[in-house]
Subunit: 309 residues, 4 copies
């Protein structure tokens, strides 16, 4: 039995008994660095552009637009503004301004035509630039669609997990809710306990899937308190809070659900260290009623009261 | 046993014993308000734009187009129409009209060029506007694609559920059909009964998954009558219609299927309150035959005849 | 036992004992008409545009382009060509030609500007047309993407199913292969037998899921012969070909697989009537070898040799 | 028992006992040629354009742009440059240059208008070309989006599989890791052993699903060593390396995971021939620690040390 546990490792490896650092951060990212990745740079750039904030994205688009126009303006200046019919600039700044705005009119394909290219060089640059503009715009279209249509579950977790009275004994619990307006369907939880254990005088990391009172629900319109009943087989059985902290215990959570708005399966990850656990507490109710409408207040998701076990 | 029931709560919470209101509306939406949502506004706007009616969407696009042109027209008027070559307006209205149509020619990148910007200010606005137009158009492309390619199951349910004769005793039944032309494949039903129960002098909501005669079918070309046989273990066993209404009984339904046209999994939700139940009835046939072609008439999905049990 | 069978109906309904017509056509479409569908027209139009042939689609796009230009040309003619600067047409045909090409230059946003709108009416039409052109183009972008990115499994089935020697007795078999270059992964088969049976002096349709020697394979690089061993529990046991034909027996097939190129689950449906069954045959091998490369020839998928059972 | 094995064939067919060639290449492609495919050419072209390298794709786009402009330039020359107002070319080359750049201005819809079509023929070509340009651009938009948004698992496998000490006896092992930055969730492995066996004096290919110590993990942030314990039921039990090579033994691997960045299920395939197996070895550790950060070095995925069994 003990031997089997040894190998249940979630993919972190039994050698992952790292000094003090956690396996999974509360935001669901991993605490391990991988060297020698074979990512294509295109995938990485695309992925960054899809996930960055809207402010950053807007500034980047603007910067790219200005830079591209600056670059093409240089090329038109090299060609000479005499190859641009209809320009009026005489000073260097005036010529540059003409070249810059001609570039903007070309890259957006607005092409008023008051200024227009004459000569093979300027014409070739303009033909290349308008094509480049169209492709850049095609790329932007894909990016915008990708940014909006990407389903991201935003499950909010209580900041603390607790050990609370449960039926005749106690249970390990945490609470979560859907932070988005989207309806989540068929929500499943997988909860794994891990800690450092001494096996043959060597510290290894052991992993235990926690049995849950209920691991799947149909809908998540309200909050859900996930309960692991602490019985004889539980790794929480007859162990003190200090021992859990010493063993660097960590509970990692994997939630799976179907997002009804995006028609796709979504996942969410989180974790609780032993230090984020309160022994002897119960979650306060977050349900309320206002003029016959039941509501829940997500700001109070982490609220608990201390109780005797 | 009773204890276990207590916790089968579908995610509504056992505290959801609300006075008279239903958990799930017949259109599948939830009867609970969530406060403190962490939705990004971008996701919400996108989602609204994807799900609103076509009439509303068209009017919004039109309004946005006119408003954007009005705004940019203002900016060109601030720059002064002397910065727009080729304008002919002399009166204020004429100048405004010129600015407005120049804006339209710029934002759509049609750029005839009869009117064209002169001077740094007007040129800068025009460069910004054409860029803005392109991005707006990119966004519209994504929206149109998103509106069309979004799979939405339209399962139609009979308005009433019935208790009908079934084999040697009775069964709880409702009828459904695919309201769209799309082929649905591997259709699954999950049906849950809930009612108010007094546990330790406290009213709590209890939940029961109903056993179905058949919970999965391969295809849904016709109608499907879902049957819960009422045996000793059924919550409908030996209970009167009045008691069900008093206990605010509700049957919630979760249907899952694969939409063959969109190659995606789709869900549909509905519910029946005790008051939407007819005791002693059977569904009328909705199959017909016309020149060797079998047909069903979806308008008659809810038709039933009263019978003795 | 018999009672349970009565209700295994795949969703066609036990009343589907139609005279001679099949439940499922060999191309996987259903033989039942549904009246009173609640499809939105938008979804239907989109779906038609996605699934029609490329020839038809191209002609439709062309027709739409010409018609839209004709319509807007009319509007410009109503406005009067004096509101279009730069036109040269004097005859009615000349004026129409000018209006038509000006419309084309506007709807595509090419906007040369030689011809350009003067006056509020022509300008308004042009502003509307360029906007309309952009949206139409956005729609076309979505359509083209939708047409290409839609995963469609093209599983080819042998035209006949056979009853062949299998181990010590016989088996019901048919053969299939992937007709596309795409790799299919985790291919699953569900095969259901149905026929007319007399129950209480009434002809009802009964349904039987056929047990398969193997119902799932990992890859489908070659052909797959699906085998239902005919034992005592099989509906094919001790029944003649004539009886099967008389009972209008039909075998319906539902295949499920993961399409590796499109990263999506795909389904394929087909069926065999009793008349498409050969009793006493075995499939010929379709494997060959050419210079150390194994190949299969899909044209020979239906080839079989008659054998004694 | 033996009879059942005979038919577990993964879809390669028991006749696949090919002389020396492998069923599955290490990159996951199949070693079988299919003749008579029913692929539509459109799907193939789209698929090629989605999967080719960026360099090849860029060159193709450029080539297509130049060729399209050459073609339309020809058409304008046929119409005669007198139908193009504003052209200045007198020599043949000058006229061609005018026609070419006018085409570029039309196909990108930039339409400066200095040059513009006069006469029905040139106008018709220009109207067709701008429409063609828009559709081409719509297609490019779809392609770019398709290229970026396509989820591709890049699981890296050790080049060798090994037979290593495992608990009290030995195990067959190979090691893998996620080669991309994307988080993979719920990773599943299916491993099948196949070899040539003599059944009734005929060489057939037999297939065996290998039992794994663990076939599913929640996350793959680090590397994963997949272990098949060699017990009495294992096909590796009491067989020499030479016998495995003689029997052309091959281990095929199918990995399934959920790609968190693309919200889609992805698959990866690979295989090991008996000749790619090292008997008596164990994988070296690839974990390291740098300033409290655990890291793994993917370049060392295949490193192993020879050991006695």
């Amino acid at each position: 039995m003990a031997k089997e546990e040894e190998f249940k490792d979630l993919g972190f490896g039994t050698g992952a008994a790292a000094g003090g650092s956690r396996l999974l951060n509360q935001d669901g990212s991993f605490n391990i660095e991988r060297r020698g990745l074979k990512d294509g740079w295109t995938v990485n750039i695309y992925h960054s552009l899809i996930t960055m904030s809207w402010t950053k994205f807007s500034l980047l688009v603007l910067a790219f637009y200005v830079l591209a126009n600056l670059l093409f303006a240089m090329l038109y200046l090299i060609a000479g503004t005499d190859q641009l019919e209809g320009t009026t600039g005489i000073s260097y700044l005036g010529k540059f301004s003409d070249a810059f705005f001609f570039s903007a009119q070309t890259i957006t394909t607005v092409g008023y035509g008051k200024m227009n290219p004459q000569g093979v060089f300027a014409n070739t640059i303009a033909a290349a630039e308008s094509m480049f503009g169209l492709l850049g715009f095609a790329f932007a279209t894909g990016l915008l669609y990708g940014r909006f249509s990407r389903p991201v579950a935003k499950i909010i977790y209580s900041h603390h997990s607790i050990i609370a009275p449960y039926r005749d004994h106690t249970g390990y619990m945490f609470r979560l809710a859907n932070g988005r307006r989207n309806a989540l369907i068929e929500i499943e939880a997988q909860v794994v306990f891990s800690c450092n254990t001494v096996v043959n005088d060597k510290v290894v990391r052991t992993f235990n899937t926690l049995k849950l009172e209920r691991s799947k629900i149909n809908f998540l319109p309200s909050s859900w308190t996930i309960v692991h009943p602490i019985d004889e087989e539980s790794p929480f059985y007859n162990i003190t809070h200090e021992d859990l902290i010493k063993a660097e215990a960590e509970v990692t959570i994997l939630m799976k659900a179907f997002d009804d708005s995006f028609s796709q399966t979504v996942y969410s990850r989180s974790s609780y260290k032993a230090t984020e656990m309160v022994v002897g507490a119960k979650f306060s109710t977050i349900h309320g009623k206002n003029k016959n409408v039941t509501f829940i207040d997500l700001h109070r998701l982490d609220e608990y009261e201390l109780v005797d076990l």
